[in-house]
């Protein structure tokens, strides 16, 4: 009986192969596993057909509430995905290949990743990019470890306005190392610059900030970069790639290592993954970059081609001395990011960023017109802002969820004393009608 229809052999073929090997049956091939170690139970359910499998998956998806109107972000954003992204990244020559270890038969993947690295460099205004990391959180951690190696110091200072998820990932990566992570409590949704200045000295390896930050605040870190460099530390900036259509690039700010999550570049929400992490840095830091890097070179006839380069940094060669343990990355998601950016294009990204901010500013104006509602930060914002509500935001969000509106991320779970704060995200996908409905329903919820 053929239980896995993906195993193609007929009984006759199996018999021929067994005879070629010189064993009586397949079980004999498992003889090297001592009898006393063999599995005593294996309780998986019986298999099913392709049709039944898909129906089961549909039933699981149907168990989630469909059609929620998202005003939530928190690191993942509900953006448009051009149709070409699915179609082109869905070419199985891309998605059923592996890491391009053999460059001659992998130029498709290699050139695409070189183009991706170029897009990330141009977006961030920095010199070098790798071929992707796992996600935005792990990218923050990898950048911090890079700074520890480069400076030989063991202290990381983190702005408390950085995503609490990324901060937690960073701390998890570092908890068993001899590294001190110091967090600065936010001040009205912004970096407490005085507190940071008091901490900066020549024991600090890096300062990690985020722009726009978890509250949605947009800040100018140009002066901060000078201060950080003044003590010989590196400035790491976590950035939101859609916002880079409008905001000062990390390179212009003076950031040394820019990281972020690439989900908003053509990757679906997909309950949190897969997306990709990106990392870009100044050229002199390239040898300390984690992960795979594609480089340009020539073949024997002088023809341009692309290869994985600087591999001697990586785990498969340097083992425990590698710059990172990463092997598999999120290459296909990075390819989606490249296709997204190439489809939206140079002017398009500027327009897309503008559309996000216009919608968010409209929503901000309407929402703050409600009685008792104000914005936490007087500072600039992009497509997210923090509302200060006249009552506990957690209760309000729960009420609106029942109406099919994910109204925002309440901050009470993440910051002490922020129970009345709600971060509202408005992307280009939200219509005026949806925003007006949010305003109306929030008003009702606040009256309850």
């Amino acid at each position: 009986m053929n239980d896995s229809h993906y195993c193609p052999h007929t009984p006759e073929e199996i018999a021929e192969m067994l005879s070629a090997i010189g064993v009586a049956d397949v079980e004999e091939l498992f003889a090297p596993i001592p009898a006393e170690l063999r599995a005593k139970t294996f309780n998986l359910p019986a298999g099913m057909s392709e049709f039944e499998t898909f129906s089961r998956m549909q039933a699981i998806a149907a168990d989630n509430t469909q059609g929620m109107t998202n005003f939530i972000g928190g690191g993942f954003y509900d953006h448009i995905i051009p149709a070409v992204v699915d179609h082109l990244s869905g070419r199985s020559e891309f998605y059923t290949a592996y890491t391009p270890y053999q460059p001659e038969c992998s130029q498709g993947t290699l050139q695409a990743l070189f183009e991706y690295q170029t897009a990330i460099c141009r977006l961030t205004g920095l010199d070098v990019s790798n071929a992707s990391l796992y996600d935005g959180g792990s990218a923050c951690a990898e950048a911090a470890m890079m700074a520890l190696r480069v400076t030989g110091r063991n202290k990381i200072v983190v702005d408390g306005c950085v995503s609490p998820f990324s901060r937690q990932v960073l701390k998890t990566y570092l908890f068993n190392l001899d590294v001190e992570v110091i967090e600065i409590a936010p001040q009205k949704g912004q970096l407490d610059r005085a507190a940071l200045a008091a901490l900066l000295d020549d024991s600090v390896a890096a300062v990690l900030v985020q722009n726009p930050n978890f509250f949605g605040t947009v800040e100018d870190f140009t002066a901060l970069a000078d201060q950080v460099h003044g003590v010989g530390a590196l400035l790491i900036g976590s950035v939101y790639p859609i916002a880079l259509g409008m905001l000062k690039s990390p390179g212009e700010v003076g950031i040394d290592i820019a990281v972020g999550d690439g989900q908003s570049l053509g990757n679906p929400l997909s309950f949190g993954g897969p997306s990709f992490g990106f990392i870009a840095a100044r050229k002199k830091l390239i040898r300390n970059m984690p992960g795979r890097i594609v480089g340009e070179t020539v073949d024997r006839n002088g023809k341009r081609g692309f290869v994985l380069t600087l591999q001697a940094r990586e785990q498969h060669i340097k083992r425990h001395k590698a710059t990172s343990n990463i092997c598999s990355n999120q290459g296909l998601c990075a390819l989606r990011g490249l296709i997204f950016l190439s489809s939206v294009g140079k002017e398009g990204l500027v327009n897309l960023a503008g559309l996000n901010r216009d919608k968010a500013e409209y929503a901000k104006a309407q929402l703050t017109a409600l009685p008792g509602v104000s914005v936490l930060q007087s500072a600039a914002t992009f497509n997210e802002f923090t509302l200060y509500l006249p009552k506990n935001a957690i209760a309000v969000v729960a009420l609106l969820l029942d109406k099919g509106i994910a109204a925002g991320v309440p901050l009470g779970d993440y910051y002490d004393g922020a129970e009345n704060c709600l971060v509202v995200t408005v992307t280009e996908k939200r219509t005026k009608k949806e925003i007006d409905l949010l305003v109306k329903e929030l008003e009702v919820a606040l009256c309850n």
Binding site: D299, C327, D358
Partner: protein, 482 residues
């Protein structure tokens, strides 16, 4: 081929954006704005489609070529899995973290919980976290769990080392080093696995964990694995199982039964999800009861009524290794794969993976040196040492295979085999496909004798010939400057 940026024409547009239905906002202050626009491509949709379609045609892939890349388990990726993953595209992960949000996400949380249960049964573990995003990420997560375990028992300062065999994947020592441990490497004995006597000598109470791949990277099952595990436990060291080679043993042996305490599983290897040209993968980590208190948060738990909840306040947890719940889309594919194949199907997967590897091993043995000549599991490792006598290296054989339409096996790994050629056919290849591959491998061996230069010149049929990797490493042109 031109770069997408070389196709770019100023002012050309590839996508129409939605028109605005709100008033334009007052611009941000100048100091916050970007001075120079990012110089992204400006191409039409058709230009874009042709570019990436033509790029894709410059790749070998499982769907176009036999891809026996050892250690990577390049099996066929069923198309229904792709369809299944798209069902979950619209679900925002933050929804589950909102107050009362789990009520709206019972399907996705339930699938993750079920996947954990299925993987726990396959591996003999008690609980699985689905958060790690790839195999190496799982390794790091697993070793951090080990360190939390030792710390909770007051042994943080004492436990300094992680032991690995010299045949291990490079990720093992790299992950342990990132998690703060020093590495002790134990050489391989003539029987093809970690030398038991040297292992015993290396073991002290300062060892935190022993990381093993079983079957190992030579494709061999270690007959001493239980003894190794008992010795490790006698020193209060935990046993870590690198699940990269799990495809060989499903239903046959459970790592948990053998004494392993923590394991990662590569869903993109064993459970049929595509490799994506390098990723995304997914590396769920299974643990024994003793490590459950340290699992990452949010942890998905089920209450007495069968409702899925998120545990987010366990102070003993190592924290978080990813922003949300892991690579959900990849896990949806793996879950569909497991329920579709079921118990008998997965057993058959391992049986035929092992059958195929042994078939290739026997057929090629007369032509290539087989340094460890014994029954293998899902992969076999040859050496090109016979061919080297004619000046032909493993890499030359690899390039010859490319000209014949085969993705080469893994070469030069494991490092303990000189001129290694590591072949993993997987269970999805037909006998006819393997016979054709075997014939080409024999042709390569014969050509090594008759015309070694032909192998040095290969490949000749690809868009490019061999590349100057030294130039790439010295010049470091990693982004288009034009």
């Amino acid at each position: 081929m031109q770069l997408i940026y070389e196709l770019s024409v100023p002012g050309r547009r590839g996508l129409k954006l939605p028109a605005s239905d709100v008033p334009a906002a007052v611009a941000l202050p100048e100091a916050l704005l970007r001075k120079e626009q990012a110089d992204l491509a400006e191409v039409s949709e058709l230009d874009l489609v042709r570019h990436f379609t033509n790029l894709s045609r410059r790749n070998f892939s499982v769907d176009t070529n036999f891809y026996p890349l050892g250690s990577c388990t390049m099996k066929y990726n069923a198309k229904v899995l792709e369809n299944a993953a798209t069902l979950f595209a619209p679900f925002h992960p933050m929804t589950a973290l909102l107050p009362g949000g789990v009520d709206f996400c019972q399907g996705t949380l339930g699938m993750l919980y079920d996947l954990g249960q299925l993987l726990a049964d396959i591996t003999g573990m008690d609980e699985v976290t689905t958060q790690p995003l790839a195999g190496a990420h799982g390794e790091m997560t697993g070793i951090l769990l080990v360190s939390a375990y030792h710390a909770a028992r007051g042994n943080k300062a004492k436990k300094k080392y992680v032991v690995v065999p010299d045949s291990s994947h490079g990720t093992n020592p790299a992950s342990a080093a990132i998690a703060g441990y020093e590495i002790i490497t134990v050489p391989t004995a003539s029987y093809g696995d970690m030398d038991l006597e040297l292992f015993k000598a290396a073991m002290t109470d300062e060892v935190a964990a022993v990381m093993m791949t079983c079957p190992n990277t030579l494709g061999l099952f270690n007959p001493h694995i239980k003894e190794i595990s008992d010795i490790a436990h006698s020193h209060d060291a935990l046993m870590y199982y690198d699940g990269a080679n799990l495809n060989a043993i499903m239903g046959k042996v459970k790592p948990g039964d053998v004494g392993f305490d923590v394991i990662h599983v590569n869903l993109h290897k064993t459970f049929g999800t595509p490799h994506g040209g390098g990723g995304p993968g997914s590396g769920p980590v299974g643990v024994k009861k003793s490590l459950i208190p340290f699992l990452p948060q949010p942890r998905i738990v089920m209450d007495d009524d069968g409702k899925l909840l998120l545990e987010t306040t366990n102070k003993g947890s190592i924290g978080r290794t990813a922003n949300f719940f892991g690579n959900f889309g990849v896990m949806a594919k793996a879950y569909a794969y497991i329920i579709m194949l079921g118990r008998e199907g997965l057993i058959q997967v391992s049986e035929q993976a092992v059958l195929n590897a042994n078939y290739i091993k026997e057929k090629l043995k007369p032509y290539y040196d087989l340094p460890y000549d014994m029954t293998c599991m899902h992969e076999c490792v040859f050496s090109a040492s016979k061919q080297l006598e004619h000046g032909v290296h493993a890499i030359d054989i690899a390039k010859f295979l490319i000209d014949k339409g085969y993705h080469p096996p893994t070469v030069y790994f494991p490092m303990i085999v000189k001129e290694a050629i590591m072949i993993e056919p997987t269970e999805t290849e037909s006998k006819a496909a393997m016979d054709a591959f075997i014939a080409v491998m024999i042709e390569a061996a014969q050509t090594a004798i008759s015309n070694p230069q032909a192998l040095h010149d290969a490949p000749l049929t690809m868009p490019i010939s061999r590349l100057d990797e030294t130039k790439a490493a010295r010049e470091q042109n990693v982004c288009c400057s034009g």
